[in-house]
C-alpha cells in the first residue's frame, strides 16, 4: 500500500462515484439539485478565482495580504461551514467499513480521497487556482509550479480539517456526557469571530499597511495560509521558505488525519446506539405523566402529547440538537457582527451621524429578522428528522393542522428564548436597549414568516436524512437540498417581513415602543395562516410526505 497509494485509494473514489450515480438514477429532482449545486459551486469557485487573480494587479503587499487572509478565510470556512450549515456528504459512511479487514491508515486515506471528489472541493480548487496568476506575473513558471503544489496541499488540508472537526464533534454530540460541552464550544468558537472581525477592522482603520503586512506574513507561516503563500515565497526568491511552508502544511495534514482516524473508530462502532443506556430505574408515575414534562399548561391531549414529544426530540435526537446548536451560534454571532459593525461606523463621523444611525437601526432590524428566520428555517425538513417514524402519525390519522401547530409551538418554546437572548446580546453591545427591543420585534416577525414558509416546504418538499450516527451527515447529494430549502425559507421570510420592516424604519424612534406586539402579531398571523393552509395540504399529502422521508434502501 505504501508503494501504490493510488491503487490503495482508487476503490474508494470509484465506490463514491458509483454510489453518487446510482443515487441520481431515475430521480429527476435529485439530478436537478445536483446540477444546481454544481452550477453554484462553479459560480462561487469562479468568483474566488477572479478575486485571487485580481491581486496580480496590486503590489507585493497586496498580493501577500490577499493570499494570506483569503487563504486563511477559506481554511476557517471549510472547518466551520460544515458544522453550522452544510453538514458533510455521507455517501461513504465510515460505519459501513467497520466489518472490512482494512488497515486504519488505508481507510482514512481512502475516505479522504473520496471526500476530495466532490463539488465543494472542486469549487475550492477552482477558487484557489486564481493564485497561479499573481504567482506567474511576479515569479514566472517556477512560482506557478510551486503555487500549484501549494494549492493542492491547501485543498487536502481544507478537506481533512473539515472532516476531522466534523467527526470529532459528531463523536462529542453522540456521547451523553460531553454533548452539551460540544455545543457550548461551538458557540464560543463562532462567537470569537465577532471580536476577531472587530480586531481586524480596527487594525485596518488605525494601523498602517506595514503592520497589516506583518500580520499577513505571520498568518502566512501558519497552516491557515501556508499553502497559499508558497508562490509568493518563490517569486521573492526564497525557495527554502516555500519548502518549509509546504512542510508545515504537510505536518498539519498528517496531524489532522491522525485525529480523524482516532474519532473514526468511535463513529464505526457507535452507529447503532445513541450511547450508554441510562440507568433503568423502574418508573413510578403513570405513562402519561412520564411523557408530559412538568410544563405548565400542557394538557394530556393529542396536542399536549405532540408538543411533549417534539420537545424531547429536539433535545434527545443528535441531528436536531446539531441544528439547535447552529441556531444558538447564529443568534450569538449575527448580533455580534452587526453590533460591532455599527460601533465602527458611528464614532467620529459627526457630520453624517444621523444618517449613519438610521442606517445602523435598519441593519439591526434586518439582522434580527434574519436571526428569527434562520431559527425557524430548520422546520423546513421537520418530517425528515422523524424519518419513517412519521408512519405512526399517518396510521393514527393525526389532523394536519393540529400536527403543524404543535410542531411549531414546540419549536418556538425552544428557540424564541434564544432569539430574545440574541436581542439581549445586541443591547449589551450597542448599549442601546431601545434599539435592541426594536430588533427583537423584527426577529419575532422574521421567525413567524420563516416558520410559515418552512411549514409549506416541509409538507411539499420533504427529503430523507441518513439514519446513521453522524448528526452532520447529509445523504449523498442532499447537502445542497438542505442549503437551498433553508435559503428559500430565509429569503422568502425576509420578503414577507419587508412591509413590517419598512413600517419600522418609517416609525424610527417610535418603533421600539410597539415593536414586540407588532412583530409578534405579524409572526403569529403568518404562522396561523400557514398552519391553516399547509395543514389542509398535509391531510392530503401525508403518505407522500412519508414516502419522501423514507430513505431508499
Amino acid at each position: 500500500m505504501a508503494v501504490r497509494p493510488v491503487a490503495a485509494v482508487s476503490p474508494f473514489v470509484r465506490l463514491k462515484l458509483r454510489m453518487l450515480a446510482n443515487g441520481l438514477r431515475g430521480r429527476t429532482w435529485r439530478v436537478l439539485l445536483f446540477i444546481g449545486g454544481t452550477l453554484l459551486g462553479a459560480y462561487l469557485g469562479g468568483m474566488g478565482f477572479l478575486l485571487f487573480a485580481a491581486s496580480a494587479a496590486g503590489d507585493a503587499q497586496v498580493r501577500l495580504m490577499v493570499a494570506s487572509f483569503g487563504g486563511a478565510a477559506l481554511v476557517l470556512g471549510s472547518v466551520l461551514l460544515p458544522l453550522v450549515w452544510f453538514g458533510v456528504d455521507d455517501t461513504l459512511d465510515p460505519a459501513r467499513f467497520a466489518l472490512l479487514p482494512l488497515p486504519r491508515t488505508r481507510l482514512v486515506l481512502g475516505l479522504l480521497a473520496a471526500a476530495l471528489v466532490s463539488v465543494p472541493a472542486a469549487a475550492l480548487l477552482l477558487a484557489t487556482a486564481g493564485l497561479l496568476v499573481p504567482a506567474g506575473v511576479a515569479g514566472g513558471p517556477a512560482a506557478v509550479v510551486a503555487q500549484a503544489v501549494g494549492l493542492l496541499a491547501g485543498l487536502v488540508l481544507c478537506v481533512a480539517a473539515g472532516r476531522a472537526v466534523v467527526s470529532a464533534f459528531a463523536t462529542m454530540l453522540r456521547s451523553r456526557r460531553v454533548r452539551d460541552l460540544a455545543g457550548i464550544l461551538l458557540a464560543a468558537l463562532a462567537a470569537l469571530l465577532g471580536p476577531i472581525q472587530l480586531g481586524v477592522v480596527a487594525a485596518a482603520q488605525s494601523a498602517d499597511w506595514d503592520q497589516l503586512t506583518r500580520i499577513a506574513r505571520v498568518v502566512g507561516w501558519t497552516p491557515l495560509a501556508g499553502a497559499y503563500t508558497v508562490g509568493i515565497e518563490v517569486a521573492e526568491g526564497r525557495p527554502l521558505a516555500a519548502l518549509a511552508k509546504l512542510l508545515v502544511v504537510a505536518a498539519s495534514v498528517a496531524g489532522l488525519l491522525w485525529w480523524w482516524s482516532r474519532t473514526l473508530e468511535s463513529a464505526q462502532v457507535g452507529a447503532a446506539s445513541a450511547g450508554p443506556a441510562r440507568p433503568s430505574r423502574p418508573a413510578r408515575a403513570g405513562a402519561v405523566a412520564q411523557l408530559l414534562p412538568r410544563l405548565p399548561g400542557l394538557p394530556p391531549t393529542r396536542t399536549g402529547a405532540l408538543i411533549a414529544r417534539e420537545l424531547r426530540y429536539w433535545w434527545r435526537d443528535a441531528k436536531r440538537r446539531a441544528n439547535l446548536t447552529a441556531v444558538a451560534v447564529i443568534a450569538v454571532m449575527a448580533p455580534l457582527l452587526a453590533g460591532f459593525g455599527r460601533l465602527q461606523v458611528e464614532p467620529g463621523s459627526a457630520g453624517v451621524s444621523l444618517g449613519m444611525s438610521q442606517l445602523g437601526r435598519t441593519s439591526t432590524l434586518l439582522v434580527m429578522a434574519f436571526v428569527g428566520a434562520f431559527a425557524s428555517s430548520m422546520l423546513a425538513n421537520q418530517f425528515g428528522f422523524d424519518g419513517t417514524a412519521y408512519a405512526a402519525h399517518v396510521t393514527a390519522a393525526v389532523p394536519g393542522r393540529a400536527e403543524l401547530r404543535a410542531r411549531t409551538a414546540a419549536h418556538a418554546v425552544l428557540t424564541v428564548p434564544v432569539i430574545v437572548a440574541a436581542g439581549a446580546v445586541l443591547a449589551l453591545i450597542l448599549d442601546d436597549p431601545l434599539s435592541a427591543v426594536g430588533g427583537v420585534g423584527a426577529s419575532f416577525a422574521g421567525y413567524g414568516a420563516g416558520a410559515a414558509v418552512s411549514l409549506f416546504l416541509s409538507v411539499l418538499a420533504p427529503y430523507p436524512l441518513p439514519e446513521g450516527s453522524n448528526p452532520f451527515a447529509t445523504a449523498s447529494g442532499t447537502g445542497i437540498a438542505k442549503s437551498l430549502l433553508a435559503l428559500v425559507a430565509v429569503v422568502a421570510a425576509l420578503l414577507i417581513c419587508t412591509p413590517l420592516l419598512l413600517l419600522a424604519t418609517a416609525l424610527g424612534e417610535g418603533w421600539p415602543w410597539v415593536a414586540v406586539p407588532a412583530g409578534a402579531g405579524y409572526g403569529l398571523a403568518a404562522v396561523a395562516l400557514a398552519t391553516y393552509l399547509a395543514g389542509d395540504l398535509l391531510d392530503h399529502r401525508a403518505t407522500e410526505v412519508l414516502a419522501g422521508v423514507t430513505p431508499r434502501r
Binding site: Q290, T301, R309, A389, T395
Partner: protein, 256 residues
Amino acid sequence: MTAADGGQEPALVLRGLTKRFQQKVAVAGVDLDVPKGSFYGLLGPNGAGKTTTLSMAVGLLRPDAGRAYVLGHDVWADPVEAKRRLGVLPDGVRLFDRLTGPELLAYTGLLRGMDPETVDRRARELLDVLALTDAGRTLVVDYSAGMKKKIGLACALLPAPRLLVLDEPFEAVDPVSAALIRDILGRYVAGGGTVIFSSHVMEVVERLCSHVAILDAGVIRTAGPLDQVRGGRLLEEVFVQTVGGRTATGDELSWL
C-alpha cells in the same frame, strides 16, 4: 362488503390493489377478503409484495389503483373512520425511538385521542404482560430487536382496535416472546378481533391461522380457510409448489 350485507361484512377487503415502483410492478392487483374473527396469515417469499400490500391496506402507501376497506370504511376516502378501527405494526419502520417504552405508549394513546386514565391503565398492563416493565427508562432505540417488536405490538394493541394488521410480527423475536405474542393474539381473536399478519414461517402460520393466502410476484396465488388450502398436505409443500421453488440437487456448492 358493506354494512348492508347483513352483519357479516369482512373485516378487511382489498380490491384490485396495484403498485409499481418505476419499472418494477410490486403488487399487480390484489383481491382479498379477511372475514371477521379470522386469524389470517399472508404468506409469500421475499419480495413477493407482502409489505407493499399491507402498507396500501392500512393507508401508509398510496396505491396506483384499487381500494381497501376496513370494516366497511374506505381507507383512502374515509381515512379517519377506517384508521380508528385499525391497529398496525409496520415492518422496517422506525418507532419514535427516542422515547422510553411508557412514553411511547402514552404518546400513541394520546395521539389517538384516548383519555389519559385509560392510557395509563392499559399501558401498565401491556408493559407487564409483554415483560417490558423491567426496561424502565431505557430509550426504545436501545431496546433489542425483539423488545422493539413487542413495544410496537403494544402500541398497535393499545387503542383496542377491531382489526390488527401486523407485518412480520414474529421476526427477530425469541421463542419465549413469540409464544407470548401468539398467546395474546389468540386471546384477541377469541374476543372477537381480527388479525392479518405476514410471515414466511410456515410452522407459525400452520399453528395459528384459520385462514391463509399465498402471495407471489404481487398476485394472490391461493387464499381461503387453512384446511381448504392445505388439502391434507403440509403447508410447506403447498407453499413451495405454489411459488415454484427449486430444491438443491446436491451438485452445487460442493466446495461447502
